[in-house]
Amino acid sequence: MLNVSWTRIYAILTKETQQLRRDRLSSGMIIGMPVVMCLLFGYAINTDVRHLKAAVADQANTQLSRQLIIDAQASQVLDIIGSVHTGKEIKELLDAGKIRVGILIPHDFERRLEQKDRPAAQLLIDGSDPTILGAARSLTSITLNNMAGSVTSPTKLFEVRNYYNAERRSAVFIVPGLIGVIVTMTMILFTAVAIVRERERGNLELLINTPVRTGELMIGKVIPYIVIGLVQVTLILLLAIILFQVPINGAVIDIYLAALIFITANLMMGLVISTFAKSQFQAMQMTFFFFLPSILLSGFMFPFDGMPAAAQYLAEVLPLTHFLRLIRGIILKGANIGQMMWDMYALFVFALVTLGLAIARFKKRLE
C-alpha cells in the first residue's frame, strides 16, 4: 500500500489546476476575497472607541464642574452634543438612542468631592454594547483621576503602557489576524467541495475505477491550493504593509512556515467535510459551521483570555487559535518560531489527524 505513485498525484494535481483556472468564480475568490476583506476589516473594524455622543446635566454649574466637562471632552472619547437639566432627560435621550453616554453632576457636587465615600458625579452609559461600556468606563477612571488631582494629591495607582501597538491602531492588530481568517475561509471552502463536486458531476464513478489511491487523490487535490494559500498570504501581507503600515517585526520565513502548516491543516479539514457532505450546498453549510466558532473563539474578535475555561479548551482544537498566536507573535512581537513550537506542533497534529480521517472516510466505493 505504500508504493505512492507521483505520476498519479501529478495527474490529479494537473487536472485540479486546469479546472481551477477555468473556474472564474473560484479564481476571483482567490484574489478578490483577501483584498475586499482586508480593506473592509482593516478600515472598518475599530475597537478603539472614540467620539461617543454624550449629553451633560450640570446641576452644580461651578468652576470645578465645568472643568470636569472640559476634561471629559478633551479625552476625545466623548462628543458632548447637548446639555440638559435633569437625570430624567438624560435617560430619555439614552432610551431614544440619541446619546450613548450621559454625565450628571448634582447640585452638591463640590461637597461630595470632599466626602470621599460618596461618588461625586454620575456617568449614565448605554450598556447594550460592551465595547462602548468598556470605553466609557475607562473614561470614568481618567476624569476622576484628573478631578482628584485638582483637589487632593495626585497618586496614580497604575501607569498604563501599551506594548506592541503603541498607537493603539486596530488595523495593526486586526490585519495580521485577517491572514488567518481569510485563509481559513477560502481553503476550507475549496477542498470541502472538492470531492462532493466530483460526485455531483458524475466524475467520481470513473475516478474510483482508476488505480489512483485515496491518499494520492487527497494529496493531489491539496497541493494546488497550498500554492494558492501562500499567494493569498503574500497578498494580505503586502496590503498590510502598504495600506496599514503594519510593522513586520519578525522573520518573513517564519511567517511563511507558520502559514504553510496552517494552510495545510485547513485544506485537510475541508477534505474531511467533503467526505461527509452529500452535496456542495451541504459542504458549504458545514464549512460555516466550522468557520464561525473559528472566528469567535480563536481570539480574532474577542480576547482569548476572557473566555471561560471550557471555551478555551475548545478553541485550542481550532487551527485559527494557534495561527493567530503565531502570526501576531511573529509580526507584532518579532518572536521567532522556535519560541512558539507548541502552536506549530498543534497545527501539524491537526493536519495529520484530519488527513487520516479523510482517507479513512473516503472509500473507493459507491455505497
Partner: protein
Amino acid sequence: MNAELAIESHDLTRRFGKLTAVDHLAMRVPRNMIYGFLGPNGSGKSTTIRMLCGLLTPSEGTVNVLGHKVPGDAELLKQKIGYMTQRFSLYDDLTVMENLQFIARVYSLPKAKQLRRIEKALQTYFLSDRTRQFAGTLSGGQKQRLALACATLHKPELLFLDEPTSAVDPQSRRDFWESLFRLVHKGTTILVSTHYMDEAERCHRLAILDHGRMVADGSPQQLMDTITTTVVEIASASPQDAHDALQEKEGIASVTQLGQRLRVLVEKSIDDPIAHVKTFLKHANVDAQAEITRASLEDVFVASTHKQVSDAER
C-alpha cells in the same frame, strides 16, 4: 477458477434495503468475446457491473474477475479493467486532450508511451481535430468515442460498458460496435449492458436479466432456437381487435403489435398453437390469418421476462 473465464460469479446478490437488485446471479463469462447483458431498466445490469468492478460490495456471493477476488482484491484489478459509465463521467471542463492526458497519467503510462497511445486513440476514435475542444461541448457520439478512448487507453484485458450507446444516433452506434469488434480481435473481453435488441444480437453471448435474475444465457442463436414459446404471426385487417381478443388469454404469453401484424407468443404446452389462437379470434369475430414463424431475439426477451413476471404474480 477456469483460466478460460474472465468473470465467474456464484450466488452474486445485492440488496438495497428491501429491494433485491441482483438475485443469486451465477455468471460465467469466457475470455475474448463480447458478452451482453440484456434487460429492462431496473433489472440489475448496472448494479452487477458495479459489483464486478468492486464499486459495490455484494450482499452475498463470490466474484472472481481475471483471477482476482472482488471486492477484496479490487485495487489490483483496476489496472487491468476499463469501465465506461452509463453517464458521461469525464471532465466537462477539460479539453479532449487534457482528459486523455489525465487518464494516461492516472494509469501510470510511461511518458513516451503516453504520447503514442493518445495519438493512436485520437485517430482510432476520430477525435484528432477535436483535441482542444472542451469535453462538455462534444456531441453525444463524440463524447461516447472519447469515453471509449479513455476506457481503453491503458489497454485493459476486460472492458465494462454500461449502456454505452443510450445517447447516440444509429450511425454512431454502428461505428461504435465496429470499434468493439476490433478490440475483441486484439484479445479484449467486453461485457456490455444494453436494452437494444439489435445490439444484443451482435454479442457473442448474451445473458438476459430480469428483476435481478438471469433468465436466459447463451449465444443469441441458441436463445432463439431454444425459446420456450411458439411464435405465431397474425395478419388481420383489424389488428387492434385481434390484439384484444388474444390479450391475457390462457396459454398466450404475450401479444405484440407490429403495424398490421401481431406477434403472439404461445406456451409450448399448447399442442396446436395455430388452432389455439384461431379459437380466440373466432370467438371475438375477428378475421385473421395465422402462421408459425421463427423466433426473434425480442421474442426470446419477451418470453423470458414475461415468465418471470407471471412467476412473481403466482
